[in-house]
């Protein structure tokens, strides 16, 4: 019995030890002035979007020759995330990168980091609060501008009556995307209707989109606010035989979206290039530490980037490699 426990204890220590040693060993012998940064994001490890961000972070750490630790809460738990930020601050790193999906919950922890004299860069979400929290700069896509860019492109493609399909009503970021899209379309003389669908119910969403198209035959363009809206919209267009007749575009990438763009069934996808949201903050923090460089813009925009039929095949390869 005692032997078993001893064995188990040794295994446990070995497990923690190995994990610790490997992360240290990665960059220890080749550090750039021994710089150490911590990234705390709200992206869960299993989310494909965030694994691209994480790859960006890793590549930047390698390229800049600095040590970077990536932390995220196990669930979408802002309390746990603020405690991760506090722990990161207590470990006194040379720089901190955070995403700010909930400014109320995370603001105080970020301010404590700033007060402790740690340079902080925010990424992905929180562009509107980053400056007042004392963050050096924000790296991400501003949703309204992304929607506006999408609207301009769609109007240029000749769309005069569009649907804006919102799969998550109440999500502020999505409302902003739709608002920007609507404003750009209106400026070009087109009209936009908003249609709410349920992201957890693709069949029901498809039916709703079909019904909306049937009730308004003037519609010649659809903008979906994410791949969970794009898939049912695509199915609805296929079912109605309106591919090509009604232009379809979406925010964010997924394998189906890339296939559809490559096949000419979709016009474009708005890409926020989250790889940059992982990569660039590490570069900026390295330069801040070694050369005291700062960026003058409050927001360094990684989007909107556009994926169209011209570059879809290449983006698909990169997506398979895990960097798009």
């Amino acid at each position: 019995m005692t032997r078993h426990i001893r064995l188990l204890a040794i295994m446990l220590v070995a497990l923690i030890g190995t994990v610790g040693v490997t992360t240290h060993a990665l960059s220890q012998d080749d550090d750039r002035a021994g710089l150490r940064f911590v990234v705390v994001s709200h992206g869960q490890a299993s989310d494909p979007f965030w694994s691209v961000v994480q790859r960006g972070v890793q590549q930047a750490a390698e390229d800049m020759r600095v040590q970077v630790e990536y932390q995220a809460p196990n669930t979408f738990d802002m309390v746990a995330m603020s405690q991760l930020i506090d722990a990161a601050v207590a470990s006194n790193p040379d720089g901190l990168v955070v995403s700010i999906p909930d400014p109320d919950a995370l603001g105080p922890a970020i301010q404590r980091a700033v007060e402790a004299g740690i340079p902080v860069i925010s990424m992905n979400s929180g562009s509107d609060v980053a400056k007042e929290l004392g963050v050096l700069t924000h790296v991400g896509q501003t949703e309204y501008e992304a929607g506006f860019g999408g609207g301009e492109r769609m109007a240029a493609a000749g769309v005069t009556n569009a649907l804006c399909v919102n799969q998550e009503v109440g999500n502020q970021a999505l409302d902003l995307r739709c608002q920007g899209f609507t404003d750009a379309m209106t400026a070009a003389g087109a009209t936009v209707e908003v249609l709410a669908v349920d992201l957890a119910d693709p069949t029901g969403s498809q039916q709703r989109i079909e019904a909306a198209l049937a009730s308004n035959p003037d519609i010649n363009g659809i903008m979906t606010l994410g791949p969970t809206g794009a898939a049912p919209a695509l199915a609805a267009l296929r079912a109605a035989g309106k591919i090509g007749e009604i232009q379809l575009a979406t925010f964010d990438l997924s394998p189906e979206v890339l296939d559809a763009i490559e096949a000419g069934e979709m016009l474009f996808a708005i890409d926020q290039q989250q790889y940059l949201q992982g990569y660039l903050p590490i570069v900026l923090l390295t330069l801040y530490n070694t050369n005291l460089n700062t960026i003058a813009n409050d927001v360094l925009m990684t989007g909107p980037g556009f994926v169209t039929a011209e570059n879809a095949a290449r983006v698909k390869d990169l997506s398979a490699a895990g960097t798009r």
Partner: protein, 354 residues
Amino acid sequence: MAVTEEVAGQRPAADERLARVNPLRRLMVRPEMGAVSGSIVVWVFFAIFAGDRGFLSARGTANYLQVAAELGILAVAVALLMIGGEFDLSVGSVLGACGMIIVVLSVEYGWNIWAAIAASLLFAIAVGIINGYIVLTTGLPSFIVTLAMLFIVRGATIGLTRQITGRTQLGGLGNVPGYETAKAVFASRLKIAGAEFSISILWWLAIAALATWILLRTPFGNWITGVGGNVQAARNIGVPVIRVKILLFIGTAVSGWLVATIQAVTFTNSDVLRGNFREFYAIVAAVIGGTLLTGGYGSAIGAVFGALIFGMVQQGIVFMGVDADWFQAVLGAMLLAAVLINRFVRNRAMEVRR
């Protein structure tokens, strides 16, 4: 041979219950011993591997103590219930619901924050009573009943919040009437050695002290152990089984309410998903603290140290620079180690008697 006979002959009428036990052994058979020594081992481990990276600093200590405190409040109540022979899986969802009730009532409907906090307390008590009542009248396992309650409460929280506000995350609690006094009680920070310690740590210790006193010094404490050990025997000697168990269910729900209030007031907002998985973490902390899944045996102090181990490991691997991805794997290994050690200690405890 002759020696043994002589010894036996010296105290022919010795009652085994009065036999003197080696004090070290007596200490070892306390349910919390595994967790106390485990805490020391974990602390030393991180002091060695992460001591130069902030784990030993006042700020680092404040950090893991706060994590431990918020879990520990739940774990102490859950440990009492488990000693009483029942489970409560609805704690995390009650936590999410109470936080939402506080924010919705005070921000959306303009209530004074204290009235909103009181309303959410009533809600928690009601959930506890319903849990206890269903379990005791139907005889269904509390595991299933409270699991159902977990889904009902969590689902209703998401559904109602979306219906009322159209969102899943609500803020603005910092501007409602009464906020400053609520902040002093639930969210103040005490500055010690340059670091800010959360007041939730005091709540945690106070609740642990109360629970320990109840368990060890009051008849009610004996009843808890009794109903968890052998419910029929307890009933036969006149223990009010139903009252005891319903009070324990109320206790766990109220612990969820307390953590919800602390979090809502601290962060001035609430999220429908808050408290997700907390019910399992609380059980893990109680089990690491030596409480038996079968009931009748355990301690509140053990749950305190179980939560402390939990907090140190969860935050310690961040200090070490290990990706938090690994936290669950380490947690699982620790849980397994804890139950094996506890089993070993208990077997020893049985030997002592002979």
